[in-house]
Amino acid sequence: MAQMTMIQAITDAMRNELKTNEDVLVFGEDVGQNGGVFRATEGLQKEFGEDRVFDTPLAESGIGGLAIGLGLTGFRPVMEIQFFGFLFEVMDSVAGQMSRWRYRSGGTQTTPITVRAPFGGGVKTPEMHADSLEGLMAQTPGLKVVIPSTPYDAKGLLISSIRDNDPVVFLEHMKLYRSFRAEVPEEEYTIELGKADIKREGNDVTIVTYGAMVHASLKAAEELEKDGIDVEVIDLMTVSPLDVDTIVASVEKTNRAIVVQEAQKQAGIAANVVAEITERAILSLEAPVLRVTAPDTIYPFASMEDSWLPDHKDIVATVNKVVNF
């Protein structure tokens, strides 16, 4: 075991995959010699060479096309989009092309690509860096969308994503990159995609969440415990497809739930979680399923982040609403 930050765990996962499978290629803007703008690919080019880890011209759409072409010729591309706000430049390659390739070829051709990208607020980035756009990806058939919240999860989920034979969008929350260290096994391990993790067991209310909001929810749960409210926190880890079984089993136990996301109310995936709970467990519910989200504006100017982003206080207030419904 070693103490790692999430970014170190991510680098470790890529190193492991570069080592175990020579078809794995890592590329993007500044991921080579520079080791990535967040050091996610630090040392990888030196260890594996320029043929395996390399820089690209500054063009996201081209990077997406490159990944697809490499996938068609037998490689396992791990492409990086420097910030997920730049997704729009490469939306066709991701949502119009790689997501559909197996289907359009009747299952005869595959594009086993992992799209890595940082996102998320709280670090005062300039415009179009922090936006939560996972909702767009989750609406695209043919993609899986993974969002880890801990160093341990990040390593196991990234190894699974790279080994998956279909495209996976792997979103890394910038605020979680170096905010804490945790025990991460040095050897390889995988975490199944599409499975949620119960980060805190509880009996009174279920919080379904992901990304940085997992930590805000855990903090809220501690405060609520002081008031005698026993909260269960489910970290989705994969936001598409949802682990409906884990969500429903929890709601059937607690009879109350909220969904917490950093994205705006009209975005993200919270509405989807609410719909699944309503369809499958309405008879277990003692209260409506409420959402904690950001307001439906454009992502805030940097100096406004603190009052715009949802935090543990919003979560405490919303849990109290469903408890006192």
């Binding site: 010729t73 009747g106 279909d166 949802l242």
Partner: protein
């Protein structure tokens, strides 16, 4: 000053031609090394494709084909370039480029299934290095850079070739794909089939550039403009580009000057709204079949009888292929679910059960 620079650039992109409209060799030194049989095969393919186009338009009108983008006029551009390829080369076609992939090995009935919108249309035979025809104009260009890089990294002695139209050269992906290919020095050939119209918009409204070939300059790669109605010239430049790519000398942009005699697609486009009959007449005189027929007849390599045989063969093949397409199993929702992922995620496993039950009723 700037005008002079433009003129100097344009001078570098003169149209390359081997065979004139009368079927005479005007560029003997550039004549490709093709046997009599190969020359006859090229003509055979062009005649076959012209008949196929006529039949496809008719079958579309009868409702027996779906989406169809006519190709008459572009036979030299399409088939001359494909003829320069090795079986293992990759083709990333646009939606009009069906003849190239059929001659690369796609069974005709599958091309018809693709036209109809059937899952069988994209189920390519094992080892056929072809992408499904691309509907998103320009996407095939960035993907070709990736395929070419893949081939290079695998050490294959093969190229990736892709096709788009004159309108497609305005897309960002067109530029990005060529530029990536240049930066990585990969074995890629980009063909722009300039048939002068993107649906109703003439090429003059796409760009102020006098040639599309000169757009190669922005990527730092070779560019050449060729008479796209001259099958020998198209073959020669494609072969040279392929050789250069495999020699490590980088990608090439080829602009073929061509024309489509028919509408843009069979989905209600009416070219008389935007094209004059004078322009049609001018390009009819340049018909790639007419000039190559004259050339072969002068060499005693072609007869009316031979051509009629090919016409009959094409009609029979098409009839058989349509019949085979008709016999393809009806698609089910479960078929579509089944090809979404290697392993179905939970939501699709659930929907698979629902639709299996529905379909068994």
């Amino acid at each position: 000053m700037s005008t002079k620079t433009l003129e100097q650039v344009e001078e570098k992109f003169e149209t390359f031609q081997i065979l004139n409209e009368e079927g005479e060799i005007v560029n003997e030194s550039a004549m490709p090394d093709l046997s009599d049989e190969e020359l006859q095969e090229l003509m055979t393919r062009m005649v076959y494709t012209r008949i196929w186009d006529q039949r496809a338009i008719s079958l579309n009108r009868q409702g027996r084909l779906g989406f169809y983008a006519p190709v008459a006029g572009q036979e030299a551009s399409m088939l001359g370039s494909q003829f320069a390829l090795d079986k293992e080369d990759w083709i990333l076609p646009g939606y009009r480029d069906i003849p190239q992939i059929v001659y690369h090995g796609l069974p005709l009935h599958q091309a018809f299934l693709w036209s109809r919108g059937h899952i069988g249309g994209g189920k390519f035979p094992e080892g056929l290095n072809v992408a499904v025809p691309q509907i998103i104009i320009g996407a095939q260009i960035v993907q070709t850079a990736g395929v070419a890089l893949g081939l290079k990294r695998k050490g294959n002695k093969n190229i990736a070739i892709t096709y788009t139209g004159d309108g497609g050269s305005s897309q960002g992906d067109f530029y990005e794909g060529m530029n990536f290919a240049g930066a990585y020095n990969v074995p890629a050939v980009f063909i722009v089939q300039n048939n002068r119209f993107a649906i109703s918009v003439p090429v003059e409204k796409q760009t102020a550039a006098k040639t599309i070939a000169q757009k190669a300059t922005a990527a730092g790669i070779e560019g050449i403009q060729v008479d796209g109605m001259d099958v020998l010239a198209v073959y020669a430049v494609t072969k040279e580009a392929r050789d250069r790519a495999l020699n490590g000398d980088g990608p090439t942009l080829i602009e073929t000057l061509t024309y489509r005699y028919g509408p843009h697609t069979m989905a209600g486009d009416d070219p008389t709204r935007y094209r004059t009959s004078d322009l049609d007449d001018e390009w009819t005189k340049k018909d790639p079949l007419v000039r190559f027929r004259k050339f072969l007849e002068a060499k005693k390599l072609w007869t009316e009888e031979k051509e009629n045989e090919i016409v009959e063969k094409a009609k029979e093949d098409i009839k058989a292929a349509i019949k085979e397409a008709d016999s393809a199993p009806k698609q089910k929702v479960t078929d579509l679910i089944g090809v979404m992922f290697d392993e179905l995620p939970a939501n699709l496993r659930e929907q698979m059960e629902e639709f299996t039950a529905k379909e068994s009723k």
